[in-house]
């Protein structure tokens, strides 16, 4: 039986240019920063990213110029500000992003996860979001309309989303890939199980016995998982419930650099391409001392 446990660099190496990737974060919660950084280090190009609520991980990749298309339900960095790089890319080209809503993206992933080719929904109707999808490059490929054959009610139909690779950052997983998530899970289960390949990054790598004690917490069973990467603080500077809070100082620093296209490369050079891996990045943002300050108080989760 082959070993599933890999390094970030190893798994990212297997991702081809042009791949459709789902990362699994929500704004400033449980983003897959270690993967986003490594995609930038390895300069993977022409990527399609899909996400129900975009956040830092998407902004990084778009800012680094690696993304050809973004399929998104919306997003921001909560009170820290907008996703400036994403918004600039949307301003530069009207066809860069396919805008949806949180629920419609989740339904597209659900269809993908169930192996059905389309799914009906009662959102997006009568909105300009749908007008743009129907008029643009999404038109025949991704959206259509139908009257329910049983009730006659008008529905929007959406094509299933099946990312080439779905990532998710979790609190714990075992060496077989059985993955447990603590706290709310937004669209994680759907986006992961819709993926043709599933790769987990985890804060803690635990013995299977730990998983067997609380099997109801296992969101992704190991048999679906291709690889597991053990990366503590893999979500920094976003927050991971039960593990650490978001890093407010670093998020402010990020937003200050991402406000203008001219200052963004400096951020990437300092924190991403100028570091050889996530461990070196963590040292650069304050190391053990900073991580200890951010570490969650167990009873609160932050």
């Amino acid at each position: 039986m082959s070993e599933k446990v890999k390094t970030i660099a190893e798994v990212v190496k297997t991702i081809p240019d042009g791949a459709h990737i789902a990362l699994g974060g929500f704004a400033i919660a449980r983003n897959n920063i270690s993967v986003a950084h490594e995609l930038i280090r390895q300069q993977k190009k022409n990527l399609t990213l899909s996400q129900s609520v975009v956040g830092l991980e998407n902004d990084l990749l778009v800012g680094a110029g690696l993304v050809k298309r973004l399929i998104m339900g919306g997003g921001s960095l909560d009170r820290f500000g907008p996703v400036h790089c994403v918004n600039r890319a949307r301003e530069a080209s009207r066809d860069f992003a396919h805008d949806y809503s949180s629920l419609s993206i989740t339904f597209r992933y659900l269809a993908g996860a169930l192996g059905i080719s389309f799914i009906p929904i009662k959102c997006l109707l009568a909105s300009e979001i749908l007008e743009r999808l129907e008029a643009g490059s999404a038109s025949k490929e991704d959206v259509s309309r139908m009257k329910c054959p049983f009730t006659g009610e008008e529905y929007l139909l959406m094509r299933a989303l099946n990312p080439d690779v779905s990532f998710v950052h979790v609190q714990r997983a075992d060496r077989d890939g059985n993955s447990q998530i603590d706290g709310p899970i937004w669209s994680n289960e759907e986006s992961v199980k819709a993926g043709n390949r599933i790769i987990i990054t985890t804060e803690e790598l635990v013995p299977t016995e730990v998983i067997r004690r609380e099997p109801a917490r296992t969101i992704i069973p190991g048999h679906r998982v291709e690889a597991v990467v053990h990366q503590p603080f893999g979500g920094h500077p976003t927050g991971v419930f039960g593990c650490y809070d978001f890093d407010a100082e670093h998020l402010k620093l990020y937003v200050n650099h991402s406000k203008k296209a001219e200052t963004f490369p400096e951020y990437l050079k300092t924190y991403v391409t100028g570091t050889k891996d996530h461990w070196e990045y963590l040292e650069k943002v304050g190391g053990l001392k900073r991580m200890d300050e951010l570490k969650a108080i167990q009873i609160q989760g932050y």
Binding site: G74, D99, S101, L103, K122, S127, E153, S187
Partner: protein, 255 residues
Amino acid sequence: MSDVPVRPTEIMAAAGSRELHDGEVAVVGIGLPQVTCVLAKRTHAPTLTALLEIGVINMDPKDTPVGLADSRSFYRATCWSGFLDIMGMNLHRGVVDVGFLGALEIDRYGNINTTLLKDESGKVRYFNGSAGGNDVASLAKRVMMILRHDKRKLLNAVAHLTSPGFVGGKSRKELNLRGGGPHRVITDKAVLGFDSATRSATLLSLHPGIQLDDVVAHTGFALQIPNPVPLTPLPTAEELRLLREEIDPKNVYLG
């Protein structure tokens, strides 16, 4: 505490709270909507259920969250789930009575723009997009909008129709939308409703101290105005105490 005069945000929270009924189910975002729900729960609506789209039911935060993605907003919830539960099996299923939405712009029919703004030269700037906004606007039984009263926010035509109200003045049935649509707009100057015949925004009450021509000057579309114009009730002493001492003592959202 009682020396500090009542602030517009407090009038808004109390007005919003009055619109919520015991036993109802509400989808809220962080900020004034959540403050409003907590106020309602602590006063006349103890069994009001608050849902956060990220996958949280009936949270009880002790520290003020910066947004939905902040772990502080998950604290002591009665349930943690995900989008499919909250936005699917509750909202899409038709169980949600009230949705609270913010906006960059709205028009007279309660159509909401959270996607982009155009300046005079036609240059476009993008913002957050829909997230759960379009879903809530499409499916909640009624929608409450909360925003600052400004001519650039309440206008004749939104730059982009992200989340539908009564599009083109049409009925929700004609629009194939299941949710009941816009119900109230709560601003720092007034409370607006929607005329059942014309589906166009009407002035329901002016906040104390606000002049009618101030509201008209700050509204970019023709507002239906009753005669006389009622006054928005001020928060009660107990509501003020709850807001200032317990719900948002650091004035993160009320300040």
